[in-house]
Symmetry: C2
């Protein structure tokens, strides 16, 4: 089978591709696992993973023709990660709509048209990376599967609209779509991206590399987080699970951990000692504080848990995984 | 001031225009009332109301250039009623997306661009006609301002996406938008339209005109309804009310009445006698029954009520208003 990953050169896209390449096969249940013969990574630039099975296609997801041209006769599933992230979508409203709304709609239409042309009765399986940014504002202490999304920013609005489209395309039988609301991913390696939540990774990644970092919010600020490993595992499972188990409603909150920035820093001190903390400067940024205050930090993810999706055990596990996966980025070692 | 009404030739559009023409002025609060010098009715065909102040423009709301060309230097408000209704949006998915999603987005962009070109700091005021069809499926006994919309059809999905766009364009200061979820409007005059809820009007309008009608659902089926008079009154008020009173969240459920089809028929018997009932045939249509079962019939509209929006007192009042407004459509008179 051929798998398409949009945003395939981005951080999560590369992690997904690495994971897919290691799997002996992908099981689009109830069908048995099938070997993955080819992966197309669609993005604005090529990614780092080089493998004979992976082909990078660079283009514009808002162009319907480019998106349609990506499909092959044996395309079995689409993992749709391409997005303009929160900070960028807020700064450039039109770009956000173009990529996050038009891009998602193009992809759904392309899946539908492909299957129609193939005369296939079974819709294309599609995983849509939504975000907990669909929640915001006055929220209950714990967000559940029944909490009404009230996005406070353009990114959250656009992701929520994407969910609605996935829902209706699925109901009509045009795709077999699944939307998962991804927690804040920590620890992100590499350079900071445009996400407003980036500091939750920065305050770990930068000190571990021997560089200074800024904590722009109160240390007791709590966030709903998951490691890249856990997120990728959950994404692939969410794609594999039988449509019956998903049922009618096609959006879920992914499991995660509630962690405060103070707890993150404590875990880092535990792992590499006091000197890492000296590299973190607390310098409040009112704009970030205002934004973060509207985010949901506690979830009851009963529905996802019932599907067997599992997050990390604790932040120490997240930190350990980061240090194992990125030895090249560590200037500080054990205490 | 100049007012634009999309869907201005449709039933609600014409009612709105008639109402606006009778008003001495429109008060976009906190500004005082200003006389309405001109109304542009944009639709696919001209309407029946002829008045020197009303100009019909026929075109395609999915064409950005046509929509932008409708604005004038003194355009002060937009009433956005243009839509592909529920039955049609379900039967023609692409047409629904084109009119209900692209059309709404075009209009929002046009409002934004217009104000930007004018160098105006005050965003264009816009009323978006959403629908209680955003609710469906497993609902609480009473839908409140906090109930999560879970639309079950393409029409509801598209209206809900429109609300999200109105919300974000408003938050960004690009428009001053307000979305109102309109109850099922009864009694609709004229011919049945593509709305799946049409029977609630048909079983009154047709017998009153001496024609047969079909009741495709159980007589005890309850619906959330409002008269054309009440809806138009609420729409105009919702447009006039100060932005401060709307606050952050820009979508509300409009007040209405919970009425069963049996109660509708009883009110008709009361008004014109037994023979009207003989014209109503109960013939269950499983497709309609299935659809209606997913609709919300009871609401607590606290937020709209606090804004001073008011529905009809009872169905007898709705019926009386219809008979007053449409003497030409009455074959049966008092008992």
């Amino acid at each position: 089978m051929h798998i398409m990953v949009t945003g395939g050169s981005g951080f999560l896209g590369q992690q997904c591709i690495a994971h897919l390449l290691k799997m002996s096969g992908l099981a689009l249940e109830p069908a048995p696992a099938q070997p993955i013969e080819a992966i197309t990574a669609f993005d604005v630039m090529p990614g780092a993973i080089l493998d004979p099975r992976v082909r990078y296609c660079c283009g514009d997801i808002a162009d319907p023709h480019q998106v349609s041209a990506l499909f092959r006769d044996n395309t079995a599933a689409v993992i749709h990660l391409a997005a303009v992230v929160s900070g960028t979508a807020e700064a450039d409203f039109d770009l956000g709509l173009r990529v996050n709304l038009d891009g998602t709609r193009n992809l759904l239409q392309a899946c539908r048209a492909r299957r129609q042309l193939q005369g296939s009765a079974s819709p294309m399986r599609l995983l849509f990376a939504s975000s907990i940014a669909v929640f915001g504002g006055s929220l209950p202490e714990v967000v559940t599967d029944h909490t009404t999304p009230t996005p406070q920013g353009s990114y959250g609005i656009q992701k929520y609209i994407g969910e609605q489209l996935v829902q209706d395309y699925t109901r009509k039988g045009f795709v077999d779509g699944r939307s998962v609301r991804i927690p804040t991913v920590v620890v992100r390696p590499g350079k900071p991206n445009g996400a407003a939540s980036g500091f939750a990774s920065n305050i770990i990644r930068e000190p571990l590399a021997g560089r200074a970092a800024v904590l722009p919010v109160d240390p007791d600020t709590a966030m709903w987080v998951a490691s890249p490993r856990a997120v990728v595992r959950m994404l692939i499972r969410a794609l594999e699970i039988d449509a019956q188990q998903w049922g009618w409603h096609r959006a879920i909150n992914l499991p995660g951990l509630t962690v405060t920035m103070r707890e993150e820093l404590a875990a880092m001190r535990e792992a590499v000692g006091e000197r890492a903390l000296a590299l973190v400067e607390e310098r409040t940024d009112p704009a970030v504080v205002r934004l973060v205050r509207t985010w949901a930090a506690r979830f009851d993810t009963a529905r996802a848990c019932a599907m067997g999706l599992e997050a990390d055990r604790d932040f120490a596990e997240i930190l350990r995984a980061y240090m194992e996966d990125h030895p090249e980025a560590l200037a500080l070692q054990g205490p």
